[in-house]
Amino acid sequence: MLFTLLGALLIQAQQNSPRTIAIDESLAAKANLRLGDRVTISARPGGDDFAVMTATRAGYTPGVAAPETVVVGAIVRRGADPSEVARGDFLVRMHLDQLQSVSGYGDRVDRFAIATRPSARIGALVERINRVAFGFRAYRSRDIAVETSRTFQVVSRFHRAIGLITIVASSVFLLCIMVLKVEERRRDIAALRLMGISRWSVVQSIIIEAALVAVLGSMLGVALGWAASLFVNWHYQALYRTPLEFSIVTLPIVAVAVSLSLLLGIGAGVLASLRLVRTPPLVLFGR
C-alpha cells in the first residue's frame, strides 16, 4: 500500500515536473544556459519569454501551440555535419511528441530513418517501399548525402581550381630557382667540362642535386602543410564550434605533393643543365 502510494506520488511528480531538452554548445554559450536552467520554448518567435527556437525550419504553423517551459537536461556537441557549418543555427533536441505538440505539427514527422540489417539489399528494399508508398518516397542515405552536399562539392571544385593555380605558380617558381641555382655555377661547370667531364655526367649531377633540393623542399613543405592544417582545424573548429575536420593531410596527398615536386625539380634541373652544357666552356668563363 505504501509502495503504491509512493509510486503514484512519484508518477504525479514526474508528470508535473517539466520535461528536459538537450541543447548544443553554441546555444548554451550564446544564451548563457547551464544544465538545470529552465527555458520556455515556442514555435512562435517574438514573445517576451522567447528563449529557444525549435530546430525545424519548415512545416510548423506558428502560434498553434502554447509555449512550454522545459529544463535543460543536457548540453551536447554537434556531429560533424558539413551542411550546417556556416549556417550558425542552434540545435535543440527534444522528444518527438514534445516537438509535435510545441510546433503544432500533429502526428506528423519530416522523415523516417530506417536502419537495415547488414545483409539487406537496400536497392530492392527502397524499390519495394516506393512501390507501395502512398504520399512519401524512400531514398538511399547515400543519395540524400550527395544532394545535401552540393555546397561542399562547389567548395571542393573551388579548392581544386585554387590548387591548380598554386601548382602553376610553384612550377614557375621552382623552374626559376633551379635556373638561377645552375647559372650561379657557370664557372664550376665550365671547369668540369674543360677537365674532360662529359656533358652527360654534368647533367646527371645537376639532376641529382635538383632532385635532392626538391625532396628536401617538399619535406619541409609537408611539415609546414601539416602545421598549417593543425592551425586551420583548430581555428575553424573553434570558430564554427564543430568537430568537423577542415583540413586533412593524408599519405596519398603527401605522396602526390612530393612526387609532383620531384617531377618539377628534375624537369627544371634538366632544362637548366641542358642550357648550360650546350654553351662552350670558355663562353661560360666569360671569355
Binding site: P45, R57, V172
Partner: protein
C-alpha cells in the same frame, strides 16, 4: 642612366628575367583574385540589398528574412506604427509561401510572394502585365518552363497539397499575366508573385494580416540605423535589419572565404617577393666585380642602390601588368565555380571587379618589388671595393 643600367642587367639574362616575370605574374593574378574575393562578395551583396532602394528589412524576432517559415502578425497595426515615423518613406510588406500547381499528373511547386506591386522590391518586371488584379500571378522563366505555360494561361494554384490523398487546399484560378526576374532568387529556383491580399485569402485565417517580411525605404538624408533603432523600440516583435547589419551577418557566415582570401593573398605576395629578392640577389652576386668597378670610378652608393631597387620594381611591375590580366580571366573562371552554390541569388558575385581591387593589388606588388630590392641593394652598396676587384681579377 639608372634605368638604362637596370634594363641592361635584366636583358642580359633574358630567360631568368622572363621566368621571374612569369612567376610574379602568377602571384599577381592570385593576389588580384584574392583581393577581389575578399571585397567582392560583400560589395555584391550590398549592391543586391540596395538595388531596389530599400534600407531596412523587418523579419520575425530572432530570425533573418525568409530564414524560417515564421511570420509577423498584425501587419495593419505595424504599418500604422511605422507611418508615425517621418523618416520612413515607403513600406512594403511581403508574405512568403509555397504554391502547388497541377500539370497533368505532375505537381509543380514554387515559392510565392504576396506583394503590393506599387511598392514591391523583390522582382524586376520583364514582360506582360504586373499583378494589378486579384487573380493575376507573375512568374520567373524557370517556373514558366516547368509549367509549360504561356502568358495569358489560367492556372489552378493551391497553397496546400497533401501528397497522401493528392488533394489541394487553398486552390484558386489565377491568370499568368507576366514574366519577372526575382532579384533574390537562385538561377534554378521557381518563383512567383501575387497580390498579398490574394495570397492571404488563399492561405486562410492562419495567415490573415501576416507578413514574412517588411521592406522599408527611408527618407533621403535620414539615418537608416536611427530608424532601425526606433523600430526595434516601438515594435519589439520584429528584428529590424539594416543593410549594414545584413552585410555583417553575411560576413560572419562567409568568413571562411574572406580568411582564405587573406591567407592566399599573403602567400602570393610573399612568393612574388621571394622570387624577386632571389633573382636580384643572384644578379648582384654575379655582378659584384662590375658593381665594385662602378663604385671605384666614383659612382655613388645611392646610385647603385637605386639601380638595384629599380630592377626589382621593373620585374614586379612587368609581372603585375601581365598578372592583372591573367587574374581577371581566372577570377571569371573561379566565380563561375562558386556561382553554382545552391540557393545563391543570381546577382551575387564572389569575384567582383572593382578598380579599387586592381589599385590595391598593384600597390602591394610595387611595394613588394621595392622591398625585394632592398636586401640585394644593401649588399651591393656595402661591397668592399678593393677586395671585390681583387677577387674579380683572380677569377
Amino acid at each position: 642612366m639608372r634605368a638604362a643600367l637596370a634594363q641592361a642587367s635584366l636583358i642580359r639574362h633574358r630567360a631568368r628575367t622572363l621566368l621571374a616575370v612569369l612567376g610574379v605574374a602568377v602571384a599577381a593574378a592570385m593576389l588580384l583574385d584574392m583581393v577581389m574575393l575578399s571585397t567582392g562578395m560583400r560589395e555584391s551583396f550590398r549592391e543586391l540589398l540596395v538595388s531596389r532602394g530599400f534600407d531596412i528589412r523587418l523579419a520575425p524576432k530572432g530570425t533573418l528574412p525568409f530564414d524560417t517559415d515564421a511570420t509577423i502578425p498584425d501587419v495593419a497595426a505595424i504599418t500604422s506604427v511605422l507611418r508615425n515615423n517621418a523618416d520612413i518613406r515607403e513600406i512594403s510588406p511581403v508574405l512568403g509561401a509555397s504554391i502547388h500547381i497541377p500539370v497533368g499528373n505532375r505537381d509543380v511547386s514554387s515559392a510565392v510572394l504576396g506583394i503590393d506591386p506599387s511598392v514591391q522590391g523583390d522582382y524586376e518586371f520583364l514582360s506582360g502585365r504586373d499583378v494589378t488584379t486579384a487573380d493575376a500571378i507573375v512568374a520567373n522563366d524557370y517556373l514558366i518552363r516547368q509549367l509549360g505555360a504561356r502568358i495569358g494561361d489560367t492556372l489552378a494554384v493551391a497553397t496546400g497539397y497533401d501528397p497522401q490523398t493528392r488533394t489541394y487546399t487553398g486552390q484558386r484560378k489565377l491568370v499568368l499575366t507576366g514574366r519577372a526576374r526575382f532579384i533574390y532568387g537562385a538561377a534554378e529556383q521557381s518563383a512567383s508573385a501575387v497580390r498579398r491580399e490574394t495570397l492571404e485569402a488563399m492561405e486562410g485565417q492562419a495567415r490573415h494580416d501576416r507578413a514574412s517580411l517588411f521592406m522599408i525605404r527611408v527618407r533621403k538624408g535620414a539615418d537608416p540605423d536611427r530608424v532601425r533603432e526606433w523600430i526595434e523600440t516601438y515594435i519589439p516583435s520584429v528584428s529590424a535589419i539594416s543593410v549594414a547589419t545584413a552585410i555583417a551577418q553575411v560576413d560572419q557566415r562567409l568568413s571562411y572565404f574572406r580568411q582564405l582570401a587573406l591567407i592566399l593573398g599573403a602567400v602570393s605576395l610573399f612568393v612574388g617577393f621571394l622570387l624577386v629578392t632571389t633573382l636580384v640577389t643572384v644578379s648582384v652576386n654575379e655582378r659584384s666585380g662590375e658593381i665594385a668597378v662602378m663604385r671605384a670610378i666614383g659612382v655613388s652608393r645611392t646610385h647603385v642602390v637605386q639601380q638595384i631597387v629599380l630592377e626589382g620594381i621593373a620585374i614586379s611591375l612587368a609581372g603585375a601588368l601581365i598578372g592583372l590580366g591573367l587574374g581577371l580571366v581566372t577570377a571569371r573562371y573561379l566565380n563561375a565555380i562558386l556561382s553554382a552554390f545552391p540557393g545563391l541569388p543570381m546577382a551575387i558575385d564572389f569575384f567582383l571587379f572593382q578598380p579599387d581591387a586592381v589599385w590595391i593589388a598593384l600597390g602591394l606588388l610595387i611595394a613588394s618589388g621595392i622591398g625585394a630590392g632592398i636586401y640585394p641593394a644593401w649588399r651591393a652598396a656595402s661591397l668592399p671595393i678593393a677586395e671585390s676587384l681583387r677577387r674579380e681579377a683572380i677569377a
